[in-house]
Symmetry: D2
Subunit: 288 residues, 4 copies
């Protein structure tokens, strides 16, 4: 890929890692509103928005929007209104960001700008499933008194995160069962060597497990199933809000639950930033 | 599942294994036109079509149709016209078969019968990818003078067969690269630990490989790429007709190619039969 | 194995888990000086040493000795002199403990008792290498900003812990190299799919690694090698005192080091207790 | 390693591959009594023994001796007496061979020559266990009607070949149990995720297995155990003569047995030759 000029704007450690990754590939990179990030010499720290109009590609953070209509910029103590930012950009520049919501689309549109959402890209979702799965493994290692080796684990759901989590648990020696609803998902789980359960028919089958990892974004672990868990069974919920576990009931029953959200940015910001870079490259390649 | 009465009709060793698997689960099973199959006592050998109208489920082979309008029945020396068979069946019976073509649908329709094609089911396609991948491994082990351990392998395509083949080669210690067209397929291959190449951009990258396994059903390995292969590189083509390799050119260049079709029935008929059974169970469960 | 009467005496969570594991197998089990341990109903809490002379097997903790000549009993606020304990035992009882030192042997000998050291058993050393390896993985997951997936890791030493750590890192997608001194150790590492380096010839080869895990109990990582590490490389030292890393130099160079000792009891006390149980069973079997 | 001058003398495809591997590393290589081997231009075909006295290292085949006192040279129609060969060599040359027997040692000694046996080196034994394990997998794939995936396999013995075979079978999705005699071997098998059985206590536990792979070089599978095998169970015996299976009894009982000897040279001569090269390098390094 030919050398380009990027502005990396706002965001957290992932965004800082993204800036470094782009610079490491030989691109010219300016960082804005990443004040508290440690950055190498190869990334320019912009002093103002001066010059952003010369960037070929401007990368907004994940998520784009923080409080109100401001840019999400947890590493900066300055507030940057999106409107002021967009006012400096030109339609010919490639503008992208993560989890772009309707408010952001509307703000950009006022300035005649199109924003491309990298977070909707399938390849980024897959790449993010890797640190999520590693985060689940880390939590299991931290919280369990038994080794993952030879423990009995049940993974609920066999989508991106379920697949990669089941794979890692099995690789560490756990005996992994997978519960899914669709026959083809169950066939895939079998093909990768896991035992399988029907997701709607778990009642009566839960008492043997030391670990449950939920990836299904609906209330799959309610009172009835929680009551069947073995003493000391750990439940890790990776599902986004409202989560897959009845946490109140779990607390009443003394079931240990960890609800882990947004793991990629927490457990592996450098890899998460690199994944965003790769996705932006793909988007630029498709554009041209 | 409650006990049922099955007729298993025609077909090869898979169909024989299917009959045994059904009987092993406690069902009543009759076999017809499986004359040369070794069958245990638990499967009844039908002497005629007498009684087939009492079966709850009649399972035709994969494929259903042999020569002309006859049942495919390689283990029988008798010809069984499909028309005569269908004449004995009732619409209330559950009739299924594999690779049902328009001619078979039409013949059944004349008798007011619906045939359900188990071969179109995704879970069977996934289950069949396992013996296909094992067959590819077997061919590689047989044909190569180096160990799979530490050899360099390239898998073309990352669908069902590509995934499971790449997984097995890597598990045996090969350094596996995957070539695919779509970014999300490449992200999956990375997530499972493989190196990746863009399928349309292979030229110049093939000289390091000891083994190529193609799963893409279009001519991906033409003259230009074949010429770049390392001396002694083995090419296994798992793609259905017309295959993904220019075999004539490969022969001229002295490239060793193995075109392997219909592996499940050849390398693991018992597992292939069990996979059909599981799929038929799923179909019956959805029916009721 | 027939039902026996065990006394489990002193120790930490592993010893508590051992008591539970024995009781879970149907044995009669009394616990002494495990006051703050949570124990189920199936384990009797002894009120005094009354009755210990009726035990067939008395299991002392790992290590046996705490301060001075007292039993190691971190879960009790009472001091239990080993001498008083041994005075209650008979030579016909099977007495065992972990890391039995010469002082303990001498004290036991005064009372005509032989102590068998389960910690010298090879099978326990292997079993303990599993939680140690998992602990190393946990630390790596916690401390690194990149995923283990696709990171470059170097394991120094290929004994028990080195093998199982390399195996787990590779299973999680890391590209693992192993450094060892002996040719056969290097051959084993290759056979399990790792790249290899000669332990004495690391200089110049370290700059690519994101993670080093040392298992060699001698100063293998001195000033010269530490200076070659890539910025941000994490070093985990699993070697017992004095460790394999020049920690002072590492601190001066800003190399992140984690010196992790006694991981089994910390990361997986329940599994560590079960491993002691299995080993004691083997010892009793050999005795009879 | 600096460039050297090798003579590669006699032997089969492994020896030819060895010659190529040495030449591929930039050494000067002459081949003798490898007449029917296909050799590239980079290997000189010696016309006579002229010049062998200038080689720094002369590598005899595995095994060294064929019929009588002749060199083992299955790729040549000429008989080469070892005595005539040794008469042309000098003590300062490094002479090595595989499976050197007392007769060969005596013949060499007459000429004042020391022969170093590479086959006694542990690293070669480990390296050869890889193609042996792959060969076992190949046989299992060829002979079984079920997939290795999800089949139940028992590996007898957990030495070099047992370990690597169990590892590969598990990697392909088999549920692998390991039987061994020593507690530490069983602990290792558990640590690598296999189930375990005591080797002397197999009776009553064999009926569930689809595949047995024996690596123990003593009669472990006699009449009593063979009778307990499940119908259709495949037995692969990798143990050297006299093998671990009572083959006559197995034949009477209709148990399918494959006795597979000397697999490395058969299934992967190129890798086997490369392993000899690596070992010879190690020997030369230790010499200097």
């Amino acid at each position: 890929m030919r050398q380009r000029y990027f502005w990396v704007v706002g965001g957290d450690q992932r965004q800082a890692a993204l800036a470094e990754a782009l610079a490491g590939d030989g691109h010219r990179v300016a960082a804005w509103r990443l004040d508290r990030a440690e950055l190498s010499q190869s990334v320019e720290r912009a002093e103002s928005l001066e010059g952003i109009d010369r960037a070929e590609c401007v990368i907004l953070p994940l998520p784009v929007r923080g409080e109100g209509d401001a840019l999400s910029a947890p590493l900066s103590s300055q507030t940057q209104l999106l409107d002021d930012l967009f006012a400096r950009l030109q339609p010919r520049q490639y503008l992208c960001g993560g989890r772009v919501d309707s408010r952001v689309f509307a703000l950009a549109d006022r300035h005649g700008l199109a924003i491309h959402d990298y977070f909707t890209r399938e390849e980024l979702a897959v790449a993010n499933a890797v640190p999520t799965a590693e985060g689940a493994v880390q939590i299991a290692l931290e919280e369990m008194g038994v080794t993952l080796h030879r423990c009995r684990a049940l993974v609920l759901g066999y989508g991106r995160v379920g697949r990669l989590t089941a794979h890692r648990l099995a690789a560490l020696g756990a005996r992994v069962s997978v519960a899914a609803r669709r026959y083809d998902a169950l066939a895939w789980a079998e093909a990768y060597g896991h035992d399988t359960l029907r997701l709607g028919e778990l009642s009566g089958y839960l008492c043997g497990f030391d670990l449950l990892v939920n990836t299904v974004p609906s209330r799959v672990l309610g009172k009835e199933l929680l009551e069947q868990l073995k003493d000391g069974c750990l439940v890790i919920d990776l599902a986004s809000k409202p989560g897959g576990v009845d946490f109140q009931r779990a607390a009443e029953l003394g079931v240990r639950c960890v609800w882990a959200l947004s793991l990629p940015g927490k457990v592996a910001p450098v890899s998460a930033g690199a994944a965003i870079r790769d996705t932006v490259y793909n988007m630029l390649r498709e554009e041209s």
